[in-house]
Protein backbone atom coordinates (compact mmCIF):
# COMPACT_ATOMS: atom_id res chain seq x y z
CA UNK A 1 0.00 0.00 0.00
CA UNK A 2 1.69 3.20 -1.08
CA UNK A 3 1.76 5.68 1.81
CA UNK A 4 -0.06 8.95 0.97
CA UNK A 5 1.35 11.65 3.28
CA UNK A 6 -0.96 14.38 4.61
CA UNK A 7 0.71 17.79 4.29
CA UNK A 8 -0.58 21.02 5.78
CA UNK A 9 0.50 24.35 4.26
CA UNK A 10 0.01 27.69 6.00
CA UNK A 11 0.09 30.01 2.99
CA UNK A 12 0.33 33.74 3.59
CA UNK A 13 -2.56 35.55 1.96
CA UNK A 14 -0.55 38.18 0.08
CA UNK A 15 2.24 36.10 -1.50
CA UNK A 16 2.18 32.34 -1.16
CA UNK A 17 -1.57 31.91 -1.42
CA UNK A 18 -1.51 34.08 -4.53
CA UNK A 19 1.41 31.94 -5.77
CA UNK A 20 -0.62 28.79 -5.19
CA UNK A 21 -3.51 30.42 -7.09
CA UNK A 22 -1.18 31.23 -9.95
CA UNK A 23 0.00 27.59 -10.00
CA UNK A 24 -3.66 26.55 -10.23
CA UNK A 25 -4.70 29.00 -12.93
CA UNK A 26 -1.68 28.17 -15.07
CA UNK A 27 -2.74 24.49 -14.84
CA UNK A 28 0.39 23.33 -13.01
CA UNK A 29 -0.04 19.93 -11.37
CA UNK A 30 1.17 19.52 -7.83
CA UNK A 31 0.71 16.89 -5.20
CA UNK A 32 -2.94 16.50 -4.08
CA UNK A 33 -1.99 15.55 -0.53
CA UNK A 34 -1.31 19.21 0.21
CA UNK A 35 -4.00 21.00 2.19
CA UNK A 36 -3.62 24.78 2.14
CA UNK A 37 -4.78 27.01 4.98
CA UNK A 38 -4.77 30.71 4.16
CA UNK A 39 -3.34 32.88 6.93
CA UNK A 40 -3.02 36.62 6.82
CA UNK A 41 0.75 36.46 7.39
CA UNK A 42 3.33 33.74 7.96
CA UNK A 43 4.19 35.58 11.17
CA UNK A 44 0.75 34.67 12.48
CA UNK A 45 1.57 30.93 12.54
CA UNK A 46 1.95 30.03 16.19
CA UNK A 47 4.35 27.12 16.97
CA UNK A 48 1.47 25.57 18.95
CA UNK A 49 -0.54 25.48 15.69
CA UNK A 50 2.28 23.53 14.05
CA UNK A 51 2.63 21.06 16.92
CA UNK A 52 -1.15 20.76 17.05
CA UNK A 53 -1.12 19.83 13.36
CA UNK A 54 1.41 17.08 14.06
CA UNK A 55 -0.68 16.00 17.02
CA UNK A 56 -3.75 15.73 14.80
CA UNK A 57 -1.81 13.41 12.52
CA UNK A 58 -0.28 15.50 9.72
CA UNK A 59 2.94 14.08 8.29
CA UNK A 60 4.42 17.39 7.11
CA UNK A 61 3.80 21.10 7.71
CA UNK A 62 4.96 23.94 5.46
CA UNK A 63 4.82 27.59 6.44
CA UNK A 64 4.90 29.61 3.21
CA UNK A 65 5.46 33.34 3.39
CA UNK A 66 6.76 36.30 1.39
CA UNK A 67 10.42 36.87 0.75
CA UNK A 68 12.19 38.92 3.40
CA UNK A 69 11.38 42.56 2.72
CA UNK A 70 8.19 41.94 0.71
CA UNK A 71 5.99 41.25 3.72
CA UNK A 72 2.73 43.21 3.62
CA UNK A 73 3.22 43.82 7.36
CA UNK A 74 6.99 44.51 6.97
CA UNK A 75 8.28 42.11 9.64
CA UNK A 76 5.86 39.17 9.65
CA UNK A 77 8.17 36.80 7.81
CA UNK A 78 11.14 37.72 10.02
CA UNK A 79 9.17 36.57 13.05
CA UNK A 80 8.15 33.43 11.17
CA UNK A 81 11.74 32.65 10.24
CA UNK A 82 12.90 33.03 13.85
CA UNK A 83 10.10 30.88 15.24
CA UNK A 84 10.46 28.13 12.67
CA UNK A 85 14.25 27.93 13.13
CA UNK A 86 13.91 27.79 16.91
CA UNK A 87 11.14 25.19 16.68
CA UNK A 88 13.09 23.04 14.21
CA UNK A 89 16.18 23.11 16.42
CA UNK A 90 14.19 22.09 19.46
CA UNK A 91 12.33 19.35 17.58
CA UNK A 92 15.64 18.03 16.25
CA UNK A 93 17.04 18.10 19.79
CA UNK A 94 14.23 15.95 21.18
CA UNK A 95 14.55 13.50 18.29
CA UNK A 96 11.66 14.46 16.03
CA UNK A 97 12.34 14.55 12.26
CA UNK A 98 12.63 18.28 11.83
CA UNK A 99 12.54 17.90 8.02
CA UNK A 100 8.79 17.49 8.46
CA UNK A 101 8.61 21.22 9.10
CA UNK A 102 9.62 23.50 6.24
CA UNK A 103 9.69 27.26 5.78
CA UNK A 104 9.18 28.37 2.17
CA UNK A 105 9.56 31.86 0.70
CA UNK A 106 7.25 32.03 -2.33
CA UNK A 107 6.04 35.31 -3.80
CA UNK A 108 2.83 35.82 -5.75
CA UNK A 109 4.59 35.40 -9.09
CA UNK A 110 6.40 32.16 -8.29
CA UNK A 111 3.56 29.76 -9.07
CA UNK A 112 5.91 27.26 -10.70
CA UNK A 113 8.33 27.31 -7.81
CA UNK A 114 5.46 26.76 -5.37
CA UNK A 115 4.25 23.72 -7.30
CA UNK A 116 7.75 22.22 -7.55
CA UNK A 117 8.45 22.78 -3.89
CA UNK A 118 5.18 21.06 -2.97
CA UNK A 119 5.96 18.00 -5.11
CA UNK A 120 9.50 17.76 -3.83
CA UNK A 121 8.39 18.14 -0.20
CA UNK A 122 5.70 15.49 -0.63
CA UNK A 123 8.26 13.04 -2.02
CA UNK A 124 10.60 13.71 0.87
CA UNK A 125 7.84 13.10 3.39
CA UNK A 126 6.77 9.97 1.53
CA UNK A 127 10.28 8.57 2.09
CA UNK A 128 10.21 9.54 5.72
CA UNK A 129 7.01 7.58 6.16
CA UNK A 130 4.01 8.30 8.39
CA UNK A 131 4.51 10.58 11.39
CA UNK A 132 3.80 8.49 14.48
CA UNK A 133 5.66 10.48 17.09
CA UNK A 134 3.32 13.33 17.94
CA UNK A 135 0.17 11.66 16.68
CA UNK A 136 -2.42 11.80 19.47
CA UNK A 137 -2.74 8.32 20.88
CA UNK A 138 -6.32 7.40 21.75
CA UNK A 139 -5.32 6.18 25.21
Amino acid sequence: MDFEPKILVFACNWCSYAGADLAGTSRLQYAPNVRIVRVMCSGMVNPALILHAFRMGFDGVVVAGCHPGDCHYNVGNYYAKKRIVLLRELLEFVGFESERLKLLWASASEGKKFAEEMNEFTEKIRELGPQEKFRRCQK
Binding site: N46, P47, A48, L49, L51, H52, R55, P68, V75, Y78, Y79, K81, K82, R83, V85, L86, L87, R88, E89, L90, L91, F93, V94, G95, F96, E97, K133, F134, R135, R136, C137, K139
Partner: protein
Protein backbone atom coordinates in the same frame (compact mmCIF):
# COMPACT_ATOMS: atom_id res chain seq x y z
CA UNK B 1 33.96 28.53 59.62
CA UNK B 2 33.82 31.73 61.69
CA UNK B 3 34.39 33.57 58.40
CA UNK B 4 30.95 32.43 57.17
CA UNK B 5 29.02 33.75 60.20
CA UNK B 6 30.69 37.14 60.12
CA UNK B 7 29.89 37.59 56.43
CA UNK B 8 26.23 36.86 56.97
CA UNK B 9 26.00 39.18 59.97
CA UNK B 10 27.57 41.89 57.80
CA UNK B 11 24.75 41.36 55.29
CA UNK B 12 22.18 41.54 58.09
CA UNK B 13 23.52 44.84 59.39
CA UNK B 14 23.60 46.27 55.86
CA UNK B 15 19.97 45.21 55.26
CA UNK B 16 18.93 46.70 58.61
CA UNK B 17 20.57 50.03 57.71
CA UNK B 18 18.98 49.99 54.25
CA UNK B 19 15.56 49.30 55.72
CA UNK B 20 15.76 52.38 57.88
CA UNK B 21 15.33 54.86 55.08
CA UNK B 22 16.03 54.11 51.49
CA UNK B 23 14.33 50.71 51.09
CA UNK B 24 10.73 49.92 52.12
CA UNK B 25 10.85 46.10 51.91
CA UNK B 26 13.63 43.57 51.41
CA UNK B 27 13.34 40.19 49.66
CA UNK B 28 15.60 37.67 51.38
CA UNK B 29 15.62 34.03 52.44
CA UNK B 30 14.72 32.55 55.82
CA UNK B 31 15.55 29.09 57.12
CA UNK B 32 12.53 26.76 57.25
CA UNK B 33 11.73 25.51 60.76
CA UNK B 34 11.96 21.76 60.33
CA UNK B 35 14.27 21.21 57.39
CA UNK B 36 17.51 22.25 55.77
CA UNK B 37 16.04 24.59 53.18
CA UNK B 38 15.76 28.39 52.87
CA UNK B 39 12.63 29.92 51.40
CA UNK B 40 11.89 33.44 50.30
CA UNK B 41 10.55 35.99 52.74
CA UNK B 42 9.79 39.69 52.89
CA UNK B 43 11.62 41.73 55.56
CA UNK B 44 9.82 44.97 56.23
CA UNK B 45 11.44 46.23 59.44
CA UNK B 46 15.00 46.25 60.77
CA UNK B 47 13.86 44.12 63.73
CA UNK B 48 13.13 41.08 61.53
CA UNK B 49 16.61 41.15 60.06
CA UNK B 50 18.09 38.28 62.04
CA UNK B 51 15.77 35.76 60.38
CA UNK B 52 17.75 36.30 57.15
CA UNK B 53 19.64 33.19 56.17
CA UNK B 54 22.18 32.99 53.35
CA UNK B 55 23.29 29.42 52.74
CA UNK B 56 23.80 26.90 49.92
CA UNK B 57 20.18 25.71 50.42
CA UNK B 58 18.24 28.69 49.05
CA UNK B 59 15.18 27.71 46.98
CA UNK B 60 12.86 30.02 45.03
CA UNK B 61 13.58 32.86 42.62
CA UNK B 62 13.69 36.33 44.22
CA UNK B 63 13.18 37.82 40.74
CA UNK B 64 9.80 36.10 40.58
CA UNK B 65 8.90 37.43 44.03
CA UNK B 66 9.96 40.89 42.87
CA UNK B 67 7.48 40.64 40.01
CA UNK B 68 4.76 39.58 42.40
CA UNK B 69 5.15 42.31 45.01
CA UNK B 70 6.50 44.92 42.59
CA UNK B 71 3.24 46.78 42.39
CA UNK B 72 2.34 46.91 46.08
CA UNK B 73 3.72 50.27 47.12
CA UNK B 74 5.91 52.67 45.23
CA UNK B 75 8.82 52.47 47.67
CA UNK B 76 12.17 50.97 46.71
CA UNK B 77 12.52 47.18 47.03
CA UNK B 78 15.75 45.56 48.18
CA UNK B 79 16.65 42.10 47.00
CA UNK B 80 19.37 39.58 47.80
CA UNK B 81 20.33 38.10 44.45
CA UNK B 82 22.70 35.43 43.30
CA UNK B 83 24.34 35.59 39.88
CA UNK B 84 21.44 33.88 38.06
CA UNK B 85 18.88 36.04 39.87
CA UNK B 86 20.69 39.19 38.73
CA UNK B 87 20.58 37.85 35.16
CA UNK B 88 16.82 37.30 35.53
CA UNK B 89 16.33 40.81 36.97
CA UNK B 90 18.40 42.29 34.14
CA UNK B 91 16.21 40.52 31.59
CA UNK B 92 13.01 41.66 33.33
CA UNK B 93 14.31 45.23 33.34
CA UNK B 94 15.13 44.88 29.63
CA UNK B 95 11.54 43.73 29.08
CA UNK B 96 10.14 46.66 31.01
CA UNK B 97 8.60 44.60 33.79
CA UNK B 98 10.78 46.17 36.51
CA UNK B 99 12.19 49.68 36.75
CA UNK B 100 15.88 49.69 37.64
CA UNK B 101 15.58 52.63 40.04
CA UNK B 102 12.91 50.87 42.10
CA UNK B 103 15.19 47.96 42.95
CA UNK B 104 18.22 47.90 45.24
CA UNK B 105 20.16 44.78 44.24
CA UNK B 106 22.47 43.27 46.84
CA UNK B 107 24.45 40.72 44.84
CA UNK B 108 26.16 37.81 46.56
CA UNK B 109 28.84 35.53 45.15
CA UNK B 110 27.46 32.05 44.80
CA UNK B 111 29.18 28.72 45.33
CA UNK B 112 26.30 26.71 43.93
CA UNK B 113 23.15 25.44 45.67
CA UNK B 114 22.95 21.97 47.22
CA UNK B 115 20.24 19.63 45.97
CA UNK B 116 18.95 18.20 49.27
CA UNK B 117 16.94 15.56 47.40
CA UNK B 118 20.25 13.79 46.74
CA UNK B 119 20.77 13.40 50.50
CA UNK B 120 18.84 11.13 52.86
CA UNK B 121 18.93 13.25 56.04
CA UNK B 122 21.26 16.22 55.54
CA UNK B 123 22.86 18.21 58.36
CA UNK B 124 24.85 21.42 57.96
CA UNK B 125 27.19 22.40 60.78
CA UNK B 126 29.60 25.32 60.66
CA UNK B 127 30.03 25.19 56.94
CA UNK B 128 30.28 21.45 56.55
CA UNK B 129 27.59 19.17 55.15
CA UNK B 130 26.85 15.78 56.70
CA UNK B 131 24.47 13.06 55.57
CA UNK B 132 23.92 10.31 58.18
CA UNK B 133 27.09 11.55 59.99
CA UNK B 134 29.15 10.99 56.82
CA UNK B 135 30.69 14.16 55.53
CA UNK B 136 29.66 15.01 51.99
CA UNK B 137 31.67 17.24 49.67
CA UNK B 138 29.30 20.01 48.62
CA UNK B 139 30.59 20.10 45.08
CA UNK B 140 29.24 16.59 44.30
CA UNK B 141 25.65 17.23 45.46
CA UNK B 142 25.06 20.57 43.75
CA UNK B 143 22.10 21.17 41.47
CA UNK B 144 22.84 20.30 37.87
CA UNK B 145 22.43 23.99 37.00
CA UNK B 146 25.00 25.10 39.49
CA UNK B 147 27.57 22.44 38.64
CA UNK B 148 27.44 23.71 35.03
CA UNK B 149 26.91 27.39 35.81
CA UNK B 150 28.41 29.56 33.08
CA UNK B 151 28.91 32.74 35.07
CA UNK B 152 28.74 32.61 38.90
CA UNK B 153 29.31 36.39 39.39
CA UNK B 154 26.42 38.88 39.64
CA UNK B 155 25.98 40.91 36.44
CA UNK B 156 23.86 43.74 37.84
CA UNK B 157 24.10 45.02 41.39
CA UNK B 158 24.25 48.02 43.68
CA UNK B 159 26.75 46.27 45.89
CA UNK B 160 28.23 42.79 46.10
CA UNK B 161 28.93 40.71 49.16
CA UNK B 162 31.55 38.01 48.90
CA UNK B 163 29.83 35.23 50.85
CA UNK B 164 30.90 31.96 49.27
CA UNK B 165 34.20 31.33 47.52
CA UNK B 166 33.15 31.33 43.93
CA UNK B 167 32.80 27.90 42.46
CA UNK B 168 36.02 27.75 40.40
CA UNK B 169 35.63 24.42 38.76
CA UNK B 170 32.73 25.62 36.66
CA UNK B 171 32.83 23.52 33.51
CA UNK B 172 32.11 26.15 30.87
CA UNK B 173 29.28 23.98 29.65
CA UNK B 174 31.90 21.74 28.01
CA UNK B 175 29.82 18.67 28.24
CA UNK B 176 27.04 20.64 26.62
CA UNK B 177 23.88 19.02 25.46
CA UNK B 178 25.79 16.61 23.19
CA UNK B 179 25.76 13.70 25.60
CA UNK B 180 22.04 13.12 24.88
CA UNK B 181 22.68 13.61 21.17
CA UNK B 182 23.28 10.22 19.68
CA UNK B 183 20.88 9.33 16.87
CA UNK B 184 17.31 10.52 16.66
CA UNK B 185 15.55 7.46 17.92
CA UNK B 186 17.76 7.34 20.99
CA UNK B 187 17.04 10.99 21.73
CA UNK B 188 13.31 10.54 21.15
CA UNK B 189 13.07 7.51 23.43
CA UNK B 190 15.15 9.36 26.07
CA UNK B 191 12.78 12.32 26.04
CA UNK B 192 9.68 10.11 25.89
CA UNK B 193 10.97 8.32 28.98
CA UNK B 194 11.49 11.62 30.77
CA UNK B 195 8.22 13.19 29.66
CA UNK B 196 6.32 10.09 30.77
CA UNK B 197 6.96 11.17 34.35
CA UNK B 198 5.54 14.68 33.97
CA UNK B 199 2.29 15.13 35.94
CA UNK B 200 1.56 18.63 34.50
CA UNK B 201 1.47 20.30 37.90
CA UNK B 202 2.86 23.48 36.23
CA UNK B 203 5.37 24.06 39.04
CA UNK B 204 7.99 24.73 36.33
CA UNK B 205 5.83 27.45 34.83
CA UNK B 206 4.88 29.00 38.16
CA UNK B 207 8.46 28.97 39.50
CA UNK B 208 10.01 30.64 36.44
CA UNK B 209 10.55 34.41 36.64
CA UNK B 210 10.20 34.65 32.86
CA UNK B 211 6.77 32.95 32.77
CA UNK B 212 4.66 35.92 33.79
CA UNK B 213 2.03 35.89 31.05
CA UNK B 214 -1.48 36.50 32.34
CA UNK B 215 -2.85 33.93 29.87
CA UNK B 216 -0.92 30.83 28.84
CA UNK B 217 -1.76 29.43 25.46
CA UNK B 218 -0.98 25.79 26.11
CA UNK B 219 -3.30 25.02 28.97
CA UNK B 220 -5.05 28.13 30.20
CA UNK B 221 -4.99 27.53 33.95
CA UNK B 222 -4.92 31.34 34.21
CA UNK B 223 -7.56 32.44 31.68
CA UNK B 224 -7.98 36.21 31.99
CA UNK B 225 -11.76 36.54 31.62
CA UNK B 226 -13.67 39.72 32.46
CA UNK B 227 -17.45 40.33 32.63
CA UNK B 228 -17.14 41.99 29.21
CA UNK B 229 -15.50 39.05 27.40
CA UNK B 230 -18.06 38.01 24.84
CA UNK B 231 -19.41 34.46 24.69
CA UNK B 232 -17.90 33.92 21.24
CA UNK B 233 -14.46 34.89 22.51
CA UNK B 234 -14.68 32.45 25.42
CA UNK B 235 -16.04 29.72 23.16
CA UNK B 236 -13.43 30.18 20.48
CA UNK B 237 -10.45 30.44 22.84
CA UNK B 238 -7.84 28.13 21.24
CA UNK B 239 -7.58 24.94 23.29
CA UNK B 240 -4.49 23.29 21.86
CA UNK B 241 -3.94 21.13 24.87
CA UNK B 242 -6.39 20.01 27.52
CA UNK B 243 -5.41 17.96 30.52
CA UNK B 244 -4.50 14.81 28.61
CA UNK B 245 -1.36 13.31 30.11
CA UNK B 246 0.71 11.45 27.55
CA UNK B 247 4.43 11.73 26.92
CA UNK B 248 3.78 13.52 23.60
CA UNK B 249 1.33 16.03 25.12
CA UNK B 250 3.71 16.80 27.97
CA UNK B 251 6.51 17.32 25.42
CA UNK B 252 4.13 19.60 23.44
CA UNK B 253 3.63 21.69 26.60
CA UNK B 254 7.32 21.87 27.46
CA UNK B 255 8.41 22.75 23.91
CA UNK B 256 5.96 25.64 23.69
CA UNK B 257 6.95 26.87 27.16
CA UNK B 258 10.67 26.72 26.32
CA UNK B 259 10.16 28.44 22.95
CA UNK B 260 8.85 31.46 24.82
CA UNK B 261 12.11 31.65 26.81
CA UNK B 262 14.42 31.92 23.78
CA UNK B 263 17.08 34.48 24.62
CA UNK B 264 15.38 35.27 27.93
CA UNK B 265 16.22 32.32 30.16
CA UNK B 266 18.61 33.28 32.97
CA UNK B 267 19.59 29.63 33.51
CA UNK B 268 18.75 29.83 37.23
CA UNK B 269 17.42 26.25 37.25
CA UNK B 270 14.30 27.11 39.29
CA UNK B 271 12.20 25.02 36.88
CA UNK B 272 14.26 21.92 37.54
CA UNK B 273 14.34 22.68 41.27
CA UNK B 274 10.53 23.03 41.38
CA UNK B 275 9.84 19.87 39.39
CA UNK B 276 8.59 17.17 41.81
CA UNK B 277 9.47 14.42 39.32
CA UNK B 278 13.09 15.56 38.70
CA UNK B 279 12.69 15.85 34.94
CA UNK B 280 15.76 17.51 33.30
CA UNK B 281 13.64 20.26 31.67
CA UNK B 282 16.56 22.67 31.91
CA UNK B 283 18.28 20.73 29.13
CA UNK B 284 15.68 22.14 26.73
CA UNK B 285 16.40 25.64 28.03
CA UNK B 286 20.14 25.14 27.64
CA UNK B 287 19.61 23.95 24.06
CA UNK B 288 17.57 27.10 23.46
CA UNK B 289 20.41 29.25 24.85
CA UNK B 290 22.91 27.42 22.66
CA UNK B 291 20.80 27.91 19.50
CA UNK B 292 20.26 31.59 20.31
CA UNK B 293 24.00 32.10 20.82
CA UNK B 294 25.42 30.00 18.00
CA UNK B 295 22.74 30.04 15.26
CA UNK B 296 21.51 33.59 15.74
CA UNK B 297 24.67 35.10 17.19
CA UNK B 298 22.64 37.02 19.74
CA UNK B 299 24.74 38.11 22.68
CA UNK B 300 22.87 39.89 25.48
CA UNK B 301 21.97 42.93 23.46
CA UNK B 302 19.86 45.83 24.70
CA UNK B 303 16.90 44.78 22.52
CA UNK B 304 15.31 41.50 23.71
CA UNK B 305 16.14 38.57 21.41
CA UNK B 306 12.55 37.91 20.33
CA UNK B 307 12.26 41.49 19.15
CA UNK B 308 15.55 41.58 17.25
CA UNK B 309 14.71 40.89 13.65
CA UNK B 310 17.79 41.66 11.65
CA UNK B 311 19.42 38.28 12.31
CA UNK B 312 18.44 35.87 9.53
CA UNK B 313 20.59 32.72 9.85
CA UNK B 314 21.37 31.42 6.38
CA UNK B 315 20.99 27.83 5.34
CA UNK B 316 18.68 26.80 8.16
Amino acid sequence: MKKEESKISKIKDRVAKLLEKDVSVFIAYERMPFELKDRLTIISSPKEVDKISVSPFMVGSPARMLLEIGGIDDGKIGIIARACDTRAIKQLIKEGKIKRERVYIMGITCGGMVNTRKLRSPRFENGRLYDHDREVHMKDVLYDTCSRCEDPLPVLYDEVFDVFDVFEGVSKADESTEEIEGDREKRWSYWMGEMEKCIRCYACRSACPMCYCTECLVDPINLAVSPFTSAEEKASYPRFLGKTISAEDNLFYHIIRVLHHAGRCADCGECERACPMDIPIRELERKMREVVRDVFGYDDDEIPFLAKLDMIPEGR
